[in-house]
Symmetry: C2
Subunit: 181 residues, 2 copies
């Protein structure tokens, strides 16, 4: 049996805009105390693989400061509050970022983005029966919409051109679970 | 064309054991200055989908403090240094965590675990021609080895029982790219 480690203390080091930074004091099985980083993503997030009637996926291009480059991703965003149903969040983010509303939405995956030091949750949904509308971007969002063939996206994933973990996991889950290519 | 945002300043708030926390000052296209969180994962990491001659995958169970629970993951770990080849890192982590050395290793995916606020890179490899040996765990590692059928792992992914993003992406990439199930 794998042992649960005892956390003696969790010390808040900094409250951020979307994440808080802590030092955790952990008692190891040999009795020693280790200091580990813990990054708390406060709200959690949702993302959405949005499939058009022609089979193409609705993707977004945006500048990502943390990577210092433009990425191609599935639509996604943080919950309005910790208690928000991630399906509601996924529908809202799809609509805000791409203008598309969806008639049908179902859970594909629940992801923890990086388990070694962070609790961030990203629920990934599959949205179909899409109806076009107007983008409603947040003040800090500058996003371009791109419609892509699934086969092209899989190629980009294997070529290392798409690296965003939620996007890679979401697209491969859709391809694999529904046996589409 | 999506606009690159101008970062005016990056202020170090805390140096951690594996991640550093910064406040980035970003000039938005409308001229306003926004303060964004940036978490720097210093070393980057590698992970490995390790497939036995019988088709089973070598997985690890360990307690994850950030989630406060035991997870089932593909073997993985941070690079020894920023310049380390992730293939070397993947081989070493496989051997340290599971005892298995591999005759063949090839790149499956390059992941960025959570692009909204962090630069962490995780390269995911496929390892085959496995030869058993002894675990060589780091002082702070307590890990149990489990051999799993691919179909069972995919089921656990779709049931939300496996959520670790690198594990989900790696396993689905292996299933999808090599058309195995």
């Amino acid at each position: 049996m794998v042992q649960k480690l005892e956390r003696i203390e969790r010390v808040l080091e900094r409250k951020g805009a979307i994440v808080n930074t802590y030092t955790d004091h952990i008692r190891m099985p040999d009795g020693k105390i280790a200091k580990w980083d813990y990054i708390e993503h406060v709200k959690g997030a949702a993302a959405v693989v949005a499939v058009l009637p022609n089979g193409k996926l609705v993707m977004v291009r945006q500048y990502r400061n943390a990577l210092d480059r433009v990425t191609l991703e599935i639509p996604a965003g943080a919950r309005d509050s910790v208690g928000e149903d991630t399906a509601i969040c996924a529908k809202r983010e799809l609509e805000e970022e791409t203008g598309y509303s969806c008639g049908k939405i179902e859970k594909l995956l629940s992801l923890k983005s990086t388990v070694a030091f962070c609790n961030e949750l990203i629920d990934v949904y599959l949205a179909t029966d899409l109806m076009p509308g107007e983008q409603k971007l947040d003040e800090e969002e500058y996003i371009e919409i791109v419609e892509c063939e699934l086969a092209d996206l899989c190629e980009k994933i294997y070529a290392g051109e798409i690296q965003d973990a939620k996007t890679v996991a979401g697209i491969l889950a859709y391809a694999n679970k529904y046996n589409v290519s």
